[in-house]
Amino acid sequence: MWSQHRVVRNRVTLTLRAVLSSSAVLGAFAFPVHRPGPGTSAAALEDTLVTPPVLKNISTVPGTIEVNLAAAPARLALLPGHATDAYAYNGTVPGPTLEVHEGDHVIIHFRNELPEATTIHWHGLHIPADMDGSPLRPIGAGKQYDYKFTIPRGTAGTYWYHPHPDARTGYQIAMGLYGAIIVRDANDPLPASLPEKLLILSDNRFLPDGSPDIADPHSPQGQIDRENGREGNVLLVNGQVMPVIGIRSGEVQRWRVINVSAARIYRLAIPGQTLLHVGDDGGLFERPRELNEILLANSERVELLVRGSGPPGSQTTLQTLPYDRYDPHTRPANWEVSHDLLSLRYSDAPPVPPPALPAVMRIVTALDTSRVTARRVIVLSQELINGKTMDMNRVDVRSRLGATEIWEIDNVVTMDHPFHLHGFQFQILDRDGVPEPYRSWKDVVNVRKHQTVRVVVRFDDFPGKWMFHCHILDHEDHGMMGILEVRPPPVRRRM
């Protein structure tokens, strides 16, 4: 016992030194989140929220969407008011929205005008492996590639596209490369009269000149970014700080919300209002869920119905509440602060009667767990999956077409890791043994610290190599990724 006390004493000096250096580091988090001054035009009720343009369809063939998309350096303001050198899809940040219908044939003529290799990953879409834009298929600087795929039936929902090159995903997204995908259903169960808003939530950290502050990986800030994921202190909606959405009392709006942040997990709430949660990553589910708040991890999407339950002329905000996803060693000092994302302002017009909403939206049929062909354990630890870092030449999980599998995703460390599987939507069975209260299609699940989540997935189509990884971009870029190979069924040879 005496010797243990001696050990403690020996450690005191080094502890003090570590703490002194760390407090200087943590000071970086003390910068206030940028916020606009008090509203000057309280009477203006039009949205200041700018919606990204929709990619122009150059095809005249019905059922075919053909678009041109280029990633290129651009001079624009990632931090409003500060023009800087950035990357952009077709010159805008966020990139233009790819709007398609179920069943559409999609052709994207992609040009990489960046000074480095990139890919486009069509996050969440169920499409062939060679069209998935994984790091296995980089598109070199100056090269072109045609992404071609068909949007499967039954996949209407909100998705997004972003670069996915080896080790550079976080950098390229921080520089401005991200955009939304909306897959529409000709028979959408929600009334077409609901005003629709697209909200792409991102955060970023900037140098005084407005360029993204990407820390040297060997600096103390770089090490914190690597541990926590690079979290920004400027919170943006469609690239804007605190835009305004106007609403009329009684009106119901349909919001499609995407979290494209590298590491920030949003805990969304509108003070004084409840949210109707109607859709997840893979689209609408059966019955609306009324919630006070909703957690949106990296790359997750939700569809929310926001009801104008406030009185005419009033105002509220969409906020993200404090959420402790962090390891206690590197938790930022100011993590317990709420941030405003956008302002929701009620017009002075008298209330309108609320529209009728369907009680049942879309049946999500449960995958048959009695036909499970494999059960796998996927262990998430810091930057590792099953104790390994990513190797492009290694296959970590081998499966076959037609397989139904249960993946037990086991987080053994003290920070959250949002887990993403490419190409296939899954259903969450339970979290720490507690059955999921509703069923939806997911391609990302946030596995909380020391949590075990079980999901069921069916590899019904599209053989090939697929990534699965932590969607904290710094973790993904440092190899917290594995490869699933789905092989065609064995061919029976005639003797």
Partner: protein, 225 residues
């Protein structure tokens, strides 16, 4: 009628080696399951002895292997370690709480999800198993020989700098005992708070000494007379 074949010296050049190969091959089954069970048991018992004589349970729980909470980690707050000035003066800051973790092979709360190699690496190199790839490490220089470029170390007061000098055989035996010789116990120990390790420059050769140690005798030592 054909001439009966005779074994000549010429034949022996291949018959003898073939016989030797067959004989060797036939010896392999002699290391029967029973024998390997026996050696695994011997390894686990060695690990058990080392766990006892290094007093792992002094912090990680249990008076002896028959007692409750054997190696199952902290169960009451008095098992916490205070790191920092508060260890000497109540209320002084900063104050970090280090909590002995559950060393039983429980998947959710213990070492069940770590390989024996990761446990070996944690005692030999002080590397936290959850931050360290499951690979064989051949260097102590960060970034070389699979030693992580950004090593994450076990929290003090884990005295791994001294325990590095156990032999490979001994460290493997400890890992084998913890993974295979102890029953899993579910006991969620709250996370240790620190101190933050990954920017600490404490675990350098200058501060904790070389591994392997310098050759005997150094200037401070002498050959027996």
């Amino acid at each position: 009628m054909s001439t009966p074949s005779r074994i000549t010296v010429r034949h022996l050049t291949w018959i003898l080696p073939l016989g030797a190969v067959l004989a060797l091959a036939s010896f392999r089954p002699l290391s029967s399951p029973k024998e390997s069970e026996h050696s695994v048991r011997a390894q686990l018992l060695l690990g058990r002895t080392l766990v006892l004589n290094h007093d792992c349970n002094g912090c990680h729980g249990g008076a002896d292997p028959a007692s409750d909470g054997w190696l199952a980690g902290m169960k009451t707050p008095d098992q916490e370690f205070l790191i920092g000035p508060c260890a000497f003066k109540t209320g002084a800051t900063p104050c970090f709480h280090t909590r002995p973790r559950n060393l039983t092979p429980d998947n959710a709360t213990g070492l069940g999800r770590f390989s024996e190699r990761q446990i070996f690496n944690s005692i030999r190199y002080g590397l936290r198993p959850e931050d360290t790839p499951d690979v064989t490490i051949t260097s102590m220089t960060p970034g070389k020989g699979n030693f992580p470029a950004n090593p994450h170390y076990l929290a003090p007061p884990m005295p791994w700098p001294g325990w590095r000098f156990m032999s490979d055989v001994e460290l493997r035996a400890i890992a084998a005992y913890l993974k295979r010789g102890v029953k899993p116990v579910t006991n969620r120990v709250p996370d240790s708070e620190g101190p933050p390790d990954f920017w600490a420059s404490a675990y350098t050769v200058e501060k904790i000494g070389r591994y392997p140690p310098p050759v005997f005798p150094t200037a401070n030592e002498r050959e027996p007379r």
